[in-house]
Amino acid sequence: MIRPLVIFLAVTKSWIRSRSGLFFSIMFPVLLLLVFGAIFGGGVGGGASTLFVQNLDRNPNGTATQLSSAFVDALNSTKTFAIKDVPADVDSKVWTKNNLGPLGGNIRIVMISEGFQDDVLNGTLKVRVGISYSLLNTTYQYFAPYLNESEKMVYEQGLAQMRQYNETLSDRRTSLTLAFDASDQSAAVIKNIVINVANAFNYHLIGATNVIEFKEESVTSNRYGAVDYYLPGIIAAFIMTNGIIALTANTTEFKRRGIIKRLSITPLTKFDWIIGNVLSQTLLSLMLTAIMILVGWIVFRVQAIPDALTIAVIFLGSVMFSGLGMVLGGLVKDVEAASALGNAIAFPMMFLSGTYFPMDFMPSYLQSIAKVLPLTYFSDGLRYALIYKYTEGVLSNMAVVSALAVAFIILGSVVTRWKEK
């Protein structure tokens, strides 16, 4: 095992001294972690999203009606929105476009129609009278056998008057309009918040309380944030790109410059060469993991603490992807082709393996593709090991990763050319 160690030392030194190598293998992933953490770390949009509100329900003196302003206050109380009033006498879509501010932003407008208060009161009254009528009616039917005729008449007259009154109340519902841009990624979330506020408003007005209370709970014992989800994904993805893109390009560059040829004249075997490179990449991966977790902890207070199992997962995943890198490096001749091939494999894999987006969102055919991608098993295994501490899940995923690691190293020593034609 001396020769692989000599190769390991030489390529590792060479890599550590290369600034571009260092940047792409370590600094770039750290930057990405910071960016991802900043974007997804703090709920919807982190701060408040701008919501334009045009309230057309006005009193004769021009002030907003009591109920409509109560609704706006309810929206405000979610603390999700920074509410901006749109004057009642303008075209709201045109006005908001002109008032987005110098940096632009998304247009989301809630329009409260004229007659909102009247309609709400009318509707509320109708519902309440309806409920009272049905309650009294049921009570009357129950007690009717015990009443005399004159008593019955009084009750029936009263019920008839109540029904008549309810029929005079209109069926008209008031409506709210939410306008947004079709390309707005957060529109669905915002729509749900507005609907929830409207429902709560409805319940409150008709005097109902929530029968079902909704509670959120995490399946993991600790409280984890979004960064905890992304961290293993980003680590896994970069161990993959370091293996597939960087190692492939490096190997091809060594080939182009005749360094592999020079080494192949010595007693070094192809297998020794591959093992030395794979070991070097693995060390790099462990360093990357340590730095990522450290930065994650300092900046985002991530909870992920690597244990022995996590280190084993990182080791196996790294062996697998550097093995694949050696296969690709053995197949391609020039550096440009290596980089093109590496990117062509790495990028689809990165996005299809649930690294950045959970796979549940994908169409079923993409989910089937994800199931044959090595990164899926690696990032799942890493997530189970690092976050969920779900050993069984780690072992089943790592069984696949280990089998692929062995296969890639064997394939690598088949396709690596140690002899010229």
Binding site: R17, K261, E420
Partner: protein, 310 residues
Amino acid sequence: MTEIVVEVKSLVKQYGSLRAVDDVSFELHDVEVFAFLGPNGAGKTTTVEILECLRSLTGGSAKVFGYDVTKREDVKEIKKRIGVLPQEFSALDKLSVKENIDLIGGMYKKKLDTREVIKLLDLEDKTKERFENLSGGLKQRVGVAAALVNDPQLVFLDEPTTGLDPKARREVWSVIYNLKRLGKTVFLTTHYMEEAQILADRIAIINKGKIAAIGSPQDLISRHGGRKILVVRKGSKELAKTLQDKYGSTMFDHGGDVVVKVDDVKEMWQLLGTLTDMKMDKEIEIQAPTIEDVFLKIVGARITEEGELK
């Protein structure tokens, strides 16, 4: 008779319809510098790389230290015993001179101390310098150092001075000259006539995959170099006519020089005697043919600085 280090018989290497090496046979003896001289594409590197066990052969046989280059077990023995400076040698840019030599040395069980090799190649003050910062000549010296680190008996130097400036080229020549003093057998390939003539004990002129001539420089020159030339500077037409009548092959050139082609040493002395009798007091110059003349005669063309035939 010295020990035979390399033995090549009827070697053939075929690439599709191209016969890169065509029925080549030669031997290398212990402690000699043997040069393959020929233009680009003549089959020099292909032959050498077959001997280095880097390429397979199509036909014939090749043995190094008696080991067959086609046998897996023999290849291991050959690799232990040879040192190689490949064509366009390169090393890891970010590693120092010593680290690069250590890298190659790390591949062998039996090896020299790196410091010793560094001293041998006069690289002591560059030990910690990164490979990427070295000049072309120094890079080649690192390459030779790496080739010597396993203390090989046979060293292959494939185009060791191609692309170097004249000063760096001479530095490499002195390194090669020293190798012979160290008791190494050197297999050199080159397209520089002067390099082959100065360094080699024996030269094989190779063109289009075939060996056109083989022998020591002197032997090749005397066999194929043609006649020696005696020049009388600022002579006269009369002198030219006198010498033409007596010896033939004389011309009076544009610069006023009288140029006489002489068959052999005996005739040269006769000619010198004639000139002495004439109380000649002009400058004279005797020009011997070179390997370039040999090459021109055998191949019918010269080789450019870039290694192409012209």
